[in-house]
């Protein structure tokens, strides 16, 4: 067994690390929120409350696996698995470090975007299959929000693709050895960041599951492990978006040689994870129609202008 790209060892290790990271985020988020909100957060189970995740997992695994009698069983079970699968699949193209990854794909970015589109099905199906009015409202909102924000997400990335001349994420990282794309593509970065929050539907854009409005939205009827999958799926999405920002705009594993590349990658990704958690603590939630019009009337034109300007600059340099 070797550590080359696509070997069994690296696939297994990446899968394990990614899932454990996502699960640990449950604790990280609660502690960070506690820190920012003048309170303690979970600190009872184990040192610093670290074993809280284990306790939560035991609870979630041993809960009754209940499906409401009025739900559509097949899609009800399918929905949470979709989100887990598509996000884990997306991780396969992420270049964590030189020589560390699952596949070295020439269409890496397209693959991630395709998987993100499939992710919308999870939320829609979950809400529809529940046969609950709150869940229905949640999945309606989710469908509109995720489908719209995918558009800007895709367009915002095209500037990076044009600069690097490749859809391959690994080559994009290598192309940033001379300088991170966040500087020439700052507008693209901001749009991608906003679209990323919308895609992972976290506060302030947690409109599909806005607790104060529609209880828990699309996962109102879920409990036990199926809820757990939605829950961990959300954190996986958070890790994914943070990894993508790192790869696309912040030079991926690149950094001074005093630390190994994987550490640079992890540190940058964690910085953005913490940033997303801080956003959750700080900003109120816009209304659903406000989010839509903001996207279509502001972000879309902006991302198109960004693409045009980038293209023009590249052409002039040639």
């Amino acid at each position: 067994m070797t550590w080359e790209i696509g070997s069994g060892l690296s696939i297994g290790a990446i899968l394990l690390v990614v899932i454990v990271t996502a699960a640990m985020l449950i604790w990280v988020e609660r502690r960070l929120l506690g820190f920012w909100q003048d309170r303690l957060g979970p600190n009872r189970v184990g040192p610093f409350g670290l074993l809280q995740v284990v306790a939560d997992m035991i609870k979630i695994f041993t809960k009754e696996d209940w499906i409401p009698p009025f739900a559509d069983r097949f899609s009800f079970v399918l929905a949470p698995t979709i989100i887990m699968i598509v996000i884990l699949m997306s991780f396969s193209v992420i270049p964590f470090a030189p020589g560390l990854g699952v596949v070295d794909s020439n269409v890496g970015i397209l693959f991630v975007l395709a998987m993100a589109s499939l992710g919308a099905y999870s939320v829609m199906l979950g809400g529809l299959a529940s046969d609950n009015k709150y869940a229905l409202l949640g999945s309606l909102r989710a469908a509109a929000q995720m489908v719209s924000y995918e558009v800007f997400m895709g367009v915002s990335l095209l500037g990076v693709v044009a600069l690097a001349g490749s859809f391959n994420l690994r080559e994009i990282v290598i192309a940033q050895e001379g300088g991170w794309y966040v500087i020439p593509q700052f507008v693209g970065f901001v749009i991608f960041l906003i679209a990323g929050i919308a895609e992972s539907h976290r506060l302030p854009f947690d409109i599909p599951e806005a607790e104060q409005e529609i209880c828990a939205g699309y996962h109102t009827e879920y409990s036990g492990m199926k809820f757990g999958m939605f829950f961990v799926g959300e954190y996986l999405g958070l890790v994914l978006i943070s990894s993508l920002i790192t790869v696309l705009f912040f030079g991926g594993w690149n950094g001074p040689a005093l630390l190994p590349p994987i550490v640079w990658f992890s540190a940058k990704a964690f910085f953005f994870i913490a940033f997303f958690i801080l956003l959750r603590a700080a900003i109120p939630r816009p209304r659903y129609d406000q989010l839509m019009s903001y996207g279509w009337l502001f972000l879309l034109p902006l991302s198109l202008v960004n693409l045009l300007v980038t293209g023009a600059v590249i052409l002039m340099q040639i």
């Binding site: 929120l33 920012w36 909100q37 003048d38 309170r39 009015k133 709150y134 409202l137 309606l140 909102r141 506060l203 302030p204 947690d206 806005a210 607790e211 104060q212 409005e213 529609i214 209880c215 959750r280 603590a281 700080a282 900003i283 109120p284 939630r285 816009p286 209304r287 659903y288 129609d289 406000q290």
Partner: protein
Amino acid sequence: MLAAEHIRENTVRGDVPAAAQAALELLRKEFAGDILAEQANCDFIPTLWFDRAKVKSVLNCLRKNSFAGNRFEMLFDLTAIDERARVHRDGQPLSEFTVMYQLMSFSGNCDFRIKVPLFDADLILPTVSDFWSNANWYEREVWDMFGIRFDGHPNLYRLVLPPTWEGHALRKEHPARATEMEPFSLSDAQTDVEQEALKFKPEEWGMQRKSDESEFMFLNLGPNHPSVHGAFRIAVQLDGEILVDAVPDIGYHHRGAEKMGERQSWHTFIPYTDRIDYLGGVMNNLPYVMAVEKMAGIQVPERVKVIRIMLSEMFRICSHLLFYGTFAQDVGQLSPIFYMFVERERIFNIIESICGARMHPGWFRIGGVAQDLPAGWEKRVRELLDFMPARLDEYDSMVLNNGILKRRTQGIGSYTTEEAFDWGVTGAGLRATGYEWDYRKQRPYSGYENFEFDIPIAENGDCYDRCAVRVEEMRQSLRIIKQCVDNMPSGDYKSSHPLTTPPRKEKSMKDIETLINHFLSVSWGPVIPPTEVSMAVEATKGINGYYLVSDGNTTSYRTRIRTPSFAHLQMIPAISRGFMVSDLIAIIASIDFVMADVDR
């Protein structure tokens, strides 16, 4: 003394304001032969009795005309009294049930009462829900509690008690406690009846299932929903996410506080008042003890007044802080509530060191307060005054100046001053429409006239303005507390009046008369002379009033609690139609109600 003479004498003394006097004279002229009686009460509010055939035209006359340039803008309260067991009714017409309308003039700063005698065999009178929008719920409540029907009412269903309830709870023959009833049991047949009664039929709620263009979705918001602030239910009629209608359903928090008032002694009812607006703490005691003191003729010492004001204002800040935090939370801002709880906790610590309890101290007494202030109280209160202003400024930049929050709340759920009067809206909800009226300023009680403070107002009457007014009120409350600390009078913490409960102990050991008084008022409770009184304060959520009827006994004959939240909730459909579900949540959050204050 004849009642009319009594009132005339008060007029000479200047106790009846000009507007009320003008109204009295007009009614005496217009309805000369129809006035059944003029009742005298110790609160000097003109009270006229009319037959039910005349009551509508009398109320219309009061509503339409202006008196000395002022109008009676609001139906402040509408309730009933079961008179069948009452002994002291001198000068009042024969009556088994009495319906009471209390009108309020904001411009003329006075009240007016109309009473209608009814008999058990024929409990019906015309509705006034076409005059005032807020009469709708008040009349439903009277039907629910007394079985008095209102002819022409659009939907005279039970409001507070469940539709399957038997009897009318505030009638004297209705048992007050569970031990007076059969043990509770629920047979299968009865279960089916109850289940059937719970079924949601849109038609019964006055809603259509579909329109020409679309079929509506009915969403049941509550009684358990994350942002309805307690057990409160709204049946929402949706077209997509747009609200076609929203019908509130209350009663899930009903504890029969008014019925308890007829059972507890005057003294032992005080802790119950704490739990009416459970965020208002001792401020709830204030209108009650002031009403009893007025009936008993007790003058409280200056120190008592200032202590009462200081604690009331602390509770106002606590309540507003909780409102502020939950308001931000309901529009999706997670953190402010946690910061605000820190301040609230610090204030509760001060309250605890003074009263010995935090949220519900029940600390005011008839004729005073429970204890004197503890040694060193100024230090802790001054600490509060030092740290609060900076924190409030910080919250302004965090919440009120936040762009997303502004876009979520500005222009949402707005109403005008006229609409506010029509729906019985008081407090910050009224001031947010730009109408400067505060009970503490316009009708100073407990010595508020000696304090310097401003009445914050806003312009648009929308969700944002209601929040902004309350935020500024906290700053004004701090000003008042500062003046309390700087100028706390010395003196007694209890009046030496014989009806002060419990009486001051030190004198009772010296002479037999005070010992007897002490013994009676501690064992029986004080005996309050027969009269009626209405007393209100500017509570945390609006005007909270107590209308007490004493029959010369150790308990109240009728305890009517007029709460602000009750009126405010009724307005939700009118201000939320056409908005989205998210806006409804913002509207609910901006009203600042607690269900205990609605259902009582």
